[in-house]
């Protein structure tokens, strides 16, 4: 864990909106020299605070009009069943996110599909046939919003 000062947090906030901004441009905005801004960004990358990049895409424009979150409960538990389930679920191309959770469900999945009919196909052929799968709950995503988080 590393400590960030206000300037680091401002840099991080700016990069979380647009990571293609140059150290020079960011520095000018925050009253830093280009090398000073670059050193701060580099330090946050090395510490793993900046973990990579995400490309924002318009999924609907790419033909994927439906995003569904599934809560999945396993019918059978044990180390082997978790591993089997995880191996099989990560091989499904329509599944973007797999999270192991504690609570009402064992896993949360984000599934993309072309439309509701396509989602039904993925659900029936791919999800319901996963090893150990039990109760499944589906919620169709309407809007999503990323927030800057505690960087204020």
């Amino acid at each position: 864990m590393i400590d960030l000062d206000d300037t680091d947090r401002a840099l991080l906030r700016a990069l979380a909106e647009d990571a293609t901004q140059s150290a020079g441009a960011l520095g000018r905005r925050l009253g830093l020299s280009q090398p000073a801004a670059w050193r701060r960004i580099r330090r946050m990358e090395e510490a793993g605070v900046i973990a990579g990049r995400r490309l924002v895409v318009d999924r609907a424009a790419l033909g994927f009009g439906v995003t569904v979150f599934l809560g999945v409960k396993l019918a059978t538990k044990g180390r082997v069943s978790l591993e089997d389930f995880e191996r099989a679920v990560t091989a499904i191309p329509e599944v973007q996110v797999v999270q192991h959770v504690l609570g009402l469900f064992d896993y949360r999945l984000r599934v993309v599909a072309r439309d509701i009919a396509d989602f039904e196909r993925v659900l029936r052929r791919r999800i319901m046939t996963l090893p150990g799968v039990g109760q499944v709950e589906a919620n169709v995503l309407l809007t999503e919003e990323k927030r800057p988080g505690p960087l204020g």
Partner: protein, 151 residues
């Protein structure tokens, strides 16, 4: 519409969003100039948007991540707007999603530890307006997180 080359370009870019134009061009079997032109066109059409830095909150000391699922009291027509406006005021809320289904809204909440989470839950979450029901899913591990699409 997208052609096969656009799709190939997007597959590589979604798999590795930090690739530079030259590397991306090489992987997709295009010249750098063609690759750059196609990216420009996809950006102009709004198909691709910003490239954003991913923050690993655990590295900043936030070890707890909880997915809170809310059912709202929809007898009040302002329930959604007022709930969302209030949720945006909580700095530890890093994501907000709305749904069609049994769950109305999901908040992704981070906290330094369980004690901090409990404080947040009592002082900032339970005080949000129009809540009918809450369920919590605590994140144990992210097995896969990708923006890849089966293009």
């Amino acid at each position: 519409m997208l052609d096969d080359t656009d799709r190939r370009l997007l597959r590589h870019l979604l798999a590795e969003p930090s690739l530079g134009t030259a590397e991306l061009a090489e992987r997709a079997g295009l010249t750098t100039a063609t690759c750059w032109r196609r990216l420009e066109r996809l950006t102009e059409r709004g198909v691709i948007g910003a490239r954003q830095a991913l923050i690993d909150w655990r590295k900043l000391g936030y070890s707890v991540e909880v997915s809170l699922r809310f059912t709202l009291d929809k007898t009040d027509p302002r329930a959604f707007d007022e709930f969302l406006a209030a949720a945006r005021q909580v700095p530890e809320v890093i994501g907000i999603e709305t749904f069609l289904g049994r769950v109305d809204v999901r908040l992704n909440v981070i906290a330094r530890d369980m004690k901090h989470y409990q404080e947040l839950y009592r002082s900032r979450i339970l005080t949000l307006p129009h809540i009918a029901d809450i369920e919590a899913l605590m994140l144990v591990a992210t097995i896969r997180e990708a923006e890849a699409l089966p293009l």
